[in-house]
């Protein structure tokens, strides 16, 4: 039996009375009383290092489950789902971009971008219906992200610049049109000019598919470009920062 995911749910994400601690008895690394994110919203999450950004993204991605409270993603109560169900939900509906080292070194650029299709039939078919095949969709996305150059695509991923790697990672996160894109400090390895260009490309892609973007960073200068900014330290004093 598959869990019915409501892809039209609005708000896309709803958190209530959330607390997360790594072990019982320790202080919570994250507390959020209430947070709702609407479809297509671009949300900036800021927190100092160790302030719970990665934990929040992990909870939204369903890699970890909350200790208290509720995490609702696309109408699904994540804390009630099994680990396998959360993995399935992530595979089908969520794209993720890391701060650095997003790419699997032994796969080609195209194979890296089509990776979500290996774990999700939904994203594979969505990519195929859009441009014919996952590979074609990968090329389209790469071209949109200024990586259309054929020679560049054929290079080993380890030879790409950091900026190029991050854009390949975005292409992968957008593969098969997921509803939500989570990004953990995706720009911190880029210089100021590249950061602006990267965000512009990212926003264009999000707007094109009405994607909900949640980007976590400690760099407040980015906040102005987003629909909304949330500072985690307001709600969760970084008590258990390690």
């Amino acid at each position: 039996m598959r869990t019915a995911v409501d892809t039209t749910a609005d708000p896309v994400i709803r958190l209530a009375k959330l607390a997360f601690r790594w072990r019982t008895g320790t202080a919570a690394v994250l507390r959020l009383d209430r947070l709702e994110i609407r479809r297509g919203e671009r949300v900036f999450v800021s927190a100092p290092s160790g302030g719970g950004k990665t934990t929040l993204l992990g909870l939204l991605a369903g890699v970890i489950a909350p200790t208290e409270g509720t995490v609702e993603v696309l109408g699904q109560r994540m804390e009630r789902l099994s680990g396998a169900r959360r993995d399935r939900l992530r595979a089908d509906h969520i794209g993720y971009v890391f701060q650095l080292f997003n790419l699997i070194p032994y796969l080609s650029v195209i194979d890296n971008v089509t990776l979500p299709g290996r774990f999700s039939r939904r994203r594979r078919t969505r990519a195929a219906t859009r441009t014919g095949s996952p590979e074609a969709e990968a090329r389209r996305l790469l071209a949109h992200l200024d990586l259309g150059d054929d020679g560049l695509v054929r290079r080993p991923v380890t030879q790409l610049s950091v900026g190029q790697q991050q854009r390949v990672a975005v292409a992968r996160a957008l593969m098969g049109s997921p509803e939500i894109l989570l990004a953990d400090e995706p720009t911190s390895a880029l210089d100021a000019d590249r950061r602006e260009a990267f965000l512009t490309l990212l926003f264009d892609e999000c707007a094109a598919t009405n994607l909900t973007l949640i980007l976590a960073s400690h760099d407040h200068t980015l906040a102005s470009r987003f629909d909304r900014a949330i500072a985690l330290q307001d709600v969760a004093p970084a008590a258990a920062a390690t």
Binding site: G83, D92, F98, Y106
Partner: protein, 419 residues
């Protein structure tokens, strides 16, 4: 399937390290299966050599030495049996045929066997196949010789060539019967048995070349030429052993008792199958020891694989986090590592078998030439397939340990990229 293809690509990415592991697995597999193959093939070859022989009769002594020198030309006969005893045995009502054998001379390292026409009529090998001539015919004249296939090939002899028989066995002989040369009249087809190694002459010829000899040396001052010998009485005085065929298997024990209780001289009759079984128990200890050692070598190869997989885990935590982020379950991570272990073991096993078959193709003519053993090169037998399956399972099991660790860390790390 998606995970297996990932495992394959990841494996290719670390091919330098894994290739060494793969080679050690391949070598250990080749060793293990090679020993198993040699064991089985030796037995088959030995068993096929004594096809259709009901009893082997010789002077009293050990049954194993009798079997080894009479049929396999291994070791030296110590005593002979007299011609009269042989005639008595051949006259026994239940004896269907006999092949008298007289050994002790050689030609350039190949044993010379004195026998009679019955050898070409009654000797069987394999599954009851008679001897066939590749060229020529059985010996008819006193100084005719029939060569085994390997003798002719190794020494490059053809029909009509002249050969000199030397006194004694082995490569280093001191005295030659060079006054009485033999002419090659026949070459036997290959049998894959010690027959291929043998030079066959008549019993009378053995008698003739020793007629001016006594106690293993020429009698000083006495020389009898080849032509003079023809005129003399060449009835053998003694022979080395007799291969016996009976009219019915049921008579085996009766005839055996007849021989063992023979009053005129101490004789021994053995059943080839029983003596072979005795041989296997002797050899079996060594074989088992070899197999155990080979088994441990495989184990060492798998430990190498385990080491490589475990050391790679730490540097692959990032890879695991990426896979988790695109929707891989911890189970996928587990399957990735087990799949890698399985692929390396599978490739190692295939490479090992390729190596083994390559070696067999090289070794087959050499073993046939030096040991008279025929190594059949066929598909892996059921037992070998079982060994291979066991190795593959062990390889997968080896993968379970690092796979479980990767599973645990990928659960604990989640999407944090610890480096």
């Amino acid at each position: 399937m998606a995970i297996l293809s990932l495992a394959w690509k990841s494996l290719l990415n670390r091919r330098a390290t894994l290739f060494v592991t793969l080679c050690s697995i391949a070598l250990s597999v080749a060793l293990l299966i090679g020993i198993e193959r040699l064991r089985i093939e030796t037995r088959t070859s030995f068993t096929q050599t004594v096809s259709g022989i009901d009893l082997i009769v010789g002077a009293r002594g050990g049954s194993l030495p009798l079997l080894l020198y009479s049929v396999f030309r291994i070791g030296q006969p110590t005593n002979n049996l007299s011609w009269e005893s042989y005639l008595d045995l051949a006259d026994h009502p239940r004896v269907a045929w006999t092949i008298p054998l007289s050994l002790g001379d050689s030609h350039r390292g190949h044993p010379v066997l004195g026998t009679n026409q019955d050898y070409f009529t009654h000797y069987r090998y394999g599954h009851g196949r008679p001897l066939a001539f590749a060229a020529g015919k059985p010996f008819a004249d006193l100084y005719d010789a029939v060569l085994g296939a390997e003798v002719a090939r190794a020494l490059g002899y053809g029909l009509g060539d002249e050969i000199i028989v030397a006194h004694g066995l082995g490569e280093a002989v001191f005295a030659r019967h060079d006054d009485k040369p033999f002419r090659v009249v026949g070459i036997l087809a290959r049998t894959g048995t010690p027959v291929d190694q043998t030079v066959h002459v008549s019993l009378e010829a053995i008698e003739a070349i020793h007629i001016d000899w006594q106690g293993g040396a020429p009698i000083p001052g006495l020389t009898i030429s080849a032509e003079e010998a023809r005129a003399m009485d060449l009835t053998p005085r003694a022979i080395t052993a007799v291969l016996v065929g009976l009219d019915s298997r049921i008579a085996t024990f009766r005839v055996q008792r007849f021989v063992n209780e023979y009053r005129q001289e101490p004789l021994l009759a053995i059943l080839p199958g029983v003596a072979l079984a005795e041989l296997w128990t002797v050899i079996g200890v060594g074989e088992r020891a070899l197999l155990v050692v080979a088994g441990f070598v495989v184990l060492v190869g798998l430990f190498g694989l385990l080491t490589v997989l475990l050391t790679s885990l730490n540097e692959r935590r990032r890879e695991m986090a990426i896979l988790r982020s695109v929707g891989a379950r911890p189970g996928h991570v587990f399957a990735l590592i087990v799949g890698e272990a399985g692929l390396v073991t599978l490739l190692g096993t295939l490479l090992g078998m390729a190596l083994l078959y390559g070696l067999l193709f090289i070794a087959q003519p050499l073993v046939a030439a030096h040991l008279g053993l025929h190594l059949a090169i066929g598909w892996p037998a059921a037992r070998e397939a079982a060994w291979l399956a066991l190795i593959l399972t062990a390889g997968l099991a080896t993968g379970l340990i690092p796979a479980y660790r990767a599973y645990r860390t990928s659960l604990a790390d989640g999407l944090t990229m610890r480096l």
